[in-house]
Symmetry: none
Subunit: 223 residues, 2 copies
DNA sequence: TCTCATACCGTACAAATGTCTGGCATGGGT
DNA sequence: ACCCATGCCAGACATTTGTACGGTATGAGA
């Protein structure tokens, strides 16, 4: 193997490693070596280490297939042993629920559409689930029918947050508002649509027909 | 470690391995061992091998971190046939680009914000990347400033598709339209905003200042 | 010329990791 | 009782893989 222009080969090495990492199969040093026909593992290693020094790759020293992409911190499972320092993966598979019912733990719901991957670095303990948006009532907030709402289960919310509430047996996405009302002791709850044709809903917080399912933390739309 | 109900532990092992694979980090036998507190690597191995025999996992014998999800070569996907209905979507980590330039291969861009996980079952060969949306010009299509657009690199598009185009050195998200014009031979290209205050853009397809970067396949908004 | 950096090769060694052989205990069935 | 499958442990061995130390050759500058 002769020499190649400076940086030329390294660029190709990066692409190769990157492709492998993106598809879930971290390469070994020797796989990189073979891919480019290097006659020495050291050559591959030098390229890799250089990419790490340049911040284009990250690595877990000593681990087999230890090269990673920078940016998102993947990691091993929740650590319990003393082994290498690995972090918990912020990546989760979130179930998309076909229908929601009050009081039914989402983990027990069988009627699900599938799973979507989501990065969840938050430490909040609420379970996550996905819900398909129906209706135009949040149109002006950029939430359209068919969108997938990622919801964190919680029974309270702050004013202005977009939430999923269960009214009767219907799940609905609205902006949660605590309105100060002088006539009452305390505040009252309102569910605001984001569309001129829809009216504000004022549920009775104590009613059996009203349940706050959680807060919408992300909207996804497939085109 | 005492005994546990039949299959109980194996189910947990499977979930652990699956989670790791989905996040791009195949576990070692010993990592599984540590995760569940087994005192022997063999115990972990037996669970893993059993999962392979049951078709729930696949493996590359002899390779370090050689366990895979069945179906596809990568993160998972496809069906495996037997066993519980567990499909693993083909999962990739997609780079979020801070800025885009014409002619620069996305793999060479260093200025990236991070990576997001995305399911890509399509067989299209175009590379994927993420781009932060700026401006209000697509507001009425439910695409707001700060949204993350997932883009598949391609140099052509069909009329009506939402695309990312490079005008000069500015990347912009618009609806791609092929307008039939009688005066010309062939059609002309238009980039339509989705906001009354913005005007249709009619780029010169042959200009150096116009490049079609790709098609928007998904919109994500963090709330 | 001399240094220095880049690009590559050769050959090891040691750690990480996959694999194997043998054993123990429990429970279900015959 | 016997057989057999399951769940687990113990201790090794062999391969894969990361890492280290040293070498050759070329080109850019000082």
């Amino acid at each position: 193997m002769g020499k190649t222009p400076p940086g030329r080969t390294r660029e190709r090495v990066f692409r190769f490693v990157r492709q492998r990492l993106l598809s879930g199969q971290p390469p070994t040093v020797r796989e990189v070596q073979a891919q480019f026909g290097f006659l020495s593992t050291q050559t591959a290693r030098e390229h890799l280490e250089r990419l790490v020094r340049d911040g284009r790759l990250r690595k877990e020293p000593g681990q087999a297939r230890g090269y990673r992409l920078p940016g998102s911190e993947f990691g091993g499972g929740g650590r319990s042993g003393r082994g290498p320092p690995l972090k918990g993966p912020p990546l989760k598979m979130v179930p998309i629920l076909g229908q929601v019912q009050a009081g039914v733990p989402i983990t027990a719901v069988e009627d699900l559409e599938g799973y979507v991957p989501i990065e969840d670095s938050s430490t909040s303990s609420g379970e996550l689930f996905g819900l398909r948006v129906r209706g135009e009532s949040m149109r002006d907030a950029g939430i359209l029918p068919g969108d997938l709402a990622i919801v964190r289960q919680q029974s309270t919310a702050r004013s202005g947050e977009i939430v999923v509430a269960l009214l009767g047996d219907e799940a609905t996405v609205k902006t949660f508002v605590r309105a100060r009302v002088k006539t009452h002791r305390g505040a009252r709850i309102e569910l605001h649509p984001a569309h001129p044709d829809f009216a504000v809903i004022v549920p009775d917080p104590d009613s059996e027909d009203f349940h706050l399912l959680g807060r919408v933390i992300e909207i996804r739309r497939r085109l």
